[in-house]
């Protein structure tokens, strides 16, 4: 099993979710995060005090999938989340040693 970690632009979340559903992915966990990268944040000014906001809001998706689905999932995310503009985000793939469904105690791929 693999854990796909994708950092995307927040407003692309629904597109990505749909693309993954179409692929048969049944579970996603999403976190609101702040990203620092090539895309720079903005300058905010409050009563003359400038704050360089280095971080931009992003959504982080974590998707555990059977190993063979890793590549199609990556591809689906790339297609759905791409705007061609800076700040589109990254996908990382990590190895998962074990998985368990809390409700049933099932483990392995069937836990996903």
């Amino acid at each position: 099993m693999k854990l796909i970690v994708a950092i995307i632009k927040p407003f692309k979340l629904d597109d990505v979710r749909e693309a993954l559903s179409a692929l048969g992915v049944t579970g996603i966990t999403v976190t609101d995060v702040k990203g620092f990268g090539r895309q720079k944040g903005q300058t905010e000014i409050y009563r003359g005090a400038e704050y360089q906001e280095h971080f931009v809001p992003k959504s982080k998706l974590e998707i555990a999938v059977p190993s063979d689905l890793a590549d199609p999932v990556m591809e689906a995310i790339r297609l759905a989340a791409n705007t061609g503009k800076i700040g589109d985000g990254k996908i990382f793939v990590l190895d998962v040693e074990q998985a368990m469904r809390i409700r049933t105690g099932e483990t392995g791929d069937s836990a996903l």
């Binding site: 409050y46 003359g48 005090a49 906001e53």
Partner: protein, 458 residues
């Protein structure tokens, strides 16, 4: 003789009281002591409402205005400051503050006749009511058409908001216990005396000829200067100029500024002490100056920084409210427009440039908005005052802007600044040496909500 005295009394009395004098002058002019005047229900109604409006300025108005500008971890502590000051000053005012400010006394301080509000209910005479006479027994006495309890309450709300305004300067780093002690001392030793000097008919600053319709000096310059001193004594917040100190939720600040605006109608139009044309004019100039100042700050910012901000327009509006305060009942709408624009642009400069040039950390610009705005207003009142608005039978010319008036205004400003700065400094030092003024670095870092009050926004 009485007339002559009366006349000069009028010229020098706080302008705030003029219309009342006028209304009651026929009675006063008689040789025999006048029969106790009756109250007017319309005037009393408006003053009851004005009292409620000015209280609303502090809680929740100012509480939100300030809380909306601090970081998440200090929001509740900032709300707490305004709320606790409201409670504390209520009791201080009741115990001695009112008596010191509005008891007849001497030109320098009131007396103790109203300690614990002793005798405040005497105006109720078997279901009827007697109007209040300020400075009773002196030649300058001013008779009102409202009962004393209403006058005392109206003035209490001014006494409350003034120290609450100071809190903007020391936000995010002052100990709560220090705040409590400082508020008590400052209210008795700075606010009450200055209120007496300026607003008692025998006050010595009033005697210098300065006019202040609703409290430009007593409230705003006073609070602004005390704020500046506090910011200097306390030092900057940790991370000032480096870390992100940006506001948690400006929504609160917008609610607060809006309620300040609405409540200020009680502050300014209420200072006519009656439901009359002068109240209407004060409301008019207040509205216009406020709007103009909001737009002034917004446009200055738009030009200088490329974007109009919501914090900017509300700050400007508050600056306009401050600046029109001493002028409200004395100037025409066109002058109010000018006062507003000047206040908006200059306060913008004070809060965004002056502060950084001088390098103090007046967290929420108590000085930049209230101090500077108040000074602008007090001085421009001496320029723009339009005689017919304050004309009475006894003083048919009213008070008009002139170089002499401008100088009087500057004197009053200078006196207020001097006393307030010196006394505030001494009080702060006393508190610092006894219980300490500032929270620890760790507390500041973790936030006052959790460390001082054990609460937080979830």
């Amino acid at each position: 003789m009485f007339r002559a005295l009366k006349l000069s009394g009028v010229t020098r009395a706080p302008a705030l009281l003029l219309p009342i004098v006028a209304l009651s002058s026929p009675a006063l002019a008689a040789d025999a002591p006048p029969a106790p005047p009756a109250i007017d229900t319309g005037d009393t109604s408006w003053m009851l409402v004005s009292t409620a409006l000015v209280l609303m300025m502090t809680i929740p108005g100012l509480a939100l205005f300030y809380a909306g500008m601090v970081r998440r971890k200090n929001v509740l502590a900032t709300l707490m400051q305004s709320f606790a000051i409201c409670c504390i000053v209520t009791v201080v005012w009741m115990v001695a503050g009112y008596s010191l400010a509005f008891g007849t006394g001497t030109p320098y301080i009131g007396d103790l006749s109203r300690v614990l509000l002793n005798g405040i209910g005497a105006h109720i005479a078997k279901g009827a009511d007697i109007g209040f006479t300020l400075g009773a027994g002196t030649p300058n006495a001013v008779t009102m058409t409202i009962p004393e309890s209403v006058w005392m309450m109206f003035q209490m709300t001014f006494a409350i908001i003034t120290p609450a305004l100071i809190a903007g300067a020391f936000a995010e780093r002052m100990k709560f216990s220090a705040l409590c002690v400082f508020t008590i001392l400052w209210s008795l030793l700075v606010y009450s005396p200055i209120a007496h000097w300026v607003w008692s008919p025998l006050g010595w600053v009033a005697g210098l000829g300065a006019i202040d319709f609703a409290g430009g000096t007593v409230v705003h310059i006073n609070a602004g200067v005390a704020g500046l001193v506090t910011a200097l004594v306390l030092g900057k917040r940790k991370g000032y100029g480096q870390d992100d100190l940006s506001p948690f939720n400006l929504t609160y600040a917008v609610i607060g500024a809006s309620l300040l605006w609405v409540g200020w109608f009680g502050f300014n139009a209420g200072s006519a002490v009656g439901a009359n044309g002068r109240a209407g004019m004060a409301m008019t100039t207040t509205q216009i100056a406020t709007a103009a100042a909001g737009l002034g700050w917004m446009l200055a910012e738009w030009v200088r920084r490329g974007k109009p901000t919501v914090l900017g327009i509300i700050s400007g509006a508050v600056g306009g409210l401050v600046a029109i305060t001493p002028a409200a009942g004395f100037v025409l709408p066109g002058s109010a427009l000018i006062i507003g624009v000047v206040a908006g642009v200059v306060c913008f400069w004070a809060a965004t440039s002056l502060k950084h040039m001088l390098g103090y950390d007046d967290s929420l610009d108590a000085f930049g908005v209230h101090g500077i705005g108040g000074i602008i207003g007090a001085l421009l009142t001496g320029v723009f005052a339009y005689g017919p608005l304050s004309a009475t039978d006894a003083n048919p010319g009213g008070i008009s802007g002139s170089f002499a008036q401008f100088v009087s205004q500057a004197e009053a400003v200078g006196i207020t600044i001097a006393w307030c700065a010196a006394a505030s400094f001494i009080l702060l030092k006393i508190v610092d040496l006894t219980i300490g003024l500032r929270v620890t670095a760790d507390q500041e870092e973790e936030g006052l909500d959790m460390t001082l009050h054990g609460e937080r926004i979830n």
